[in-house]
Amino acid sequence: MVSFATISPLLAAGGINAPAIPALGWISNSIVVAVIVTVGVLAFTRMATKRMELIPGPRQNFVEYLIEFLYGQVEGIVGKHVAPKAFPLLATVFIFILASNWFGLLPGVGTVGFGQSIGPVSVDPSFKDEAGNYTFVPLLRPATADLNMTLALAVVFMAVWFWLSIRELGVWGTLVHIFGPKGGLHGALKYMLMPIFMFVGVVEVVSIVFRPMSLSLRLLGNIFAGETLLHTMAHLGEKIGLPGWVAAISAVVFPLPFYFMEILVGALQATVFSLLCAVYIKLATTHDEEH
């Protein structure tokens, strides 16, 4: 009997916490995926750039196209002067996030793992223990669906951002840039508005402090929500009580449109993360008129 009253979101990978894989100690499934993605990205780029030639082969051509495109975008935002220093980090962030996001869409990621057995090869992803925690531990989980990874990306970015800011403006220049008067004010007006600019500086510092959180939680939320959506759609047939074979077909058909959406979301979130990073660098390294 079909019943829509039983529908509830099925959290991806048993919850927002990335659980440790039982056989690997504290190493979580997202760390495993992060390592796989790292090895994959590095192996591909190494293969493409090992014997570079003036007339490139297909792999070298693809990597050159990607890097040239990204460099053009970065240069357009941060400017010609800062682009060579900012590009490696921004490109790394973009490529790594994109690869991690799309890796999460591969069949088996988030669905194959350890848990309460409900058949010879199946586990119950909705099974909870006495404490109310999900017991399903997927073997693989998208690295960007784990706060540890998204926060790591944001913290590394903020460290490089801080270094670039100090390198470009100096310590005093950075303080003036944050707390100093803006808009090229001179004379009495400049001193009259000084308290306002100081207050704006404090607000700016607060916003800077919260940037790692906003960057990491935005990415985590989007990717984890996408995973949850796909899981929910895959189990929708069972949840509403469709017959076995229809539920099996619906487990393939229902999530299909959302896979295409998640491909888009994966690219979009990689773009948003790296674009925001580029804008933060641009804001911090822009020389004011009076500097």
């Binding site: 919850g15 490139p56 460099y71 690295a143 706060l147 540890n148 590394v156």
Partner: protein, 166 residues
């Protein structure tokens, strides 16, 4: 804040391991991918710029060469026209000279022919005189029946020659 982070699954060992992974990717990609690829793109860009500059130089050189060739062609045309004119003039001069020479030679031949004719005429006249003198002597000796001596023959010859000359 700590509570929020733990709710979302923050775990320091996992976080630090992810930071290490991100830093590894960052450094390795910077060293082995972005650096060489950007250097290659720059090398290609400078090569294209060099090619463009060479192309412009070649085009300028070609233009100069074409101008030079055109100048040489014009000069060659002028030279050819001058040579033709000179040849024509020279031919005219040679023709006039040859004509004059031919006229002179023809006149000389005519003079020679005229002289030869005159000499032949004189020789024939002398022969005629001698024959006529001999005939007169034979006729005289036959008519007179007298054997003429040398003095008579000489006198008759001179008289006959004088009359024939008249």
């Amino acid at each position: 804040m700590e509570g929020i982070l733990q709710t979302f699954g923050l775990d320091w060992p996992k976080f630090i391991s992810q930071v290490i992974i991100v830093l590894l990717v960052y450094f390795i990609l910077s060293k082995y991918a972005f650096g060489p690829v950007l250097a290659m793109l720059e090398a290609r860009r400078s090569r294209i710029a060099e090619g463009e500059s060479n192309l412009k130089a070649i085009e300028a050189e070609l233009s100069r060469a074409e101008e030079k060739v055109q100048g040489m062609l014009n000069q060659a045309n002028l030279d050819a026209e001058r040579l033709i004119t000179e040849a024509r003039e020279s031919a005219e001069a040679v023709r006039g000279q040859k004509t004059q020479e031919a006229i002179k030679e023809a006149q000389s031949i005519i003079e020679k022919a005229r002289e030869a004719s005159r000499l032949e005429h004189e020789s024939a006249m002398n022969e005629l005189r001698r024959d006529f003198g001999r005939l007169v002597i034979d006729a005289t000796s036959k008519v007179t029946g007298k054997v003429l001596d040398d003095g008579d023959q000489k006198r008759i010859n001179e008289e006959t020659a004088g009359q024939v000359a008249l």
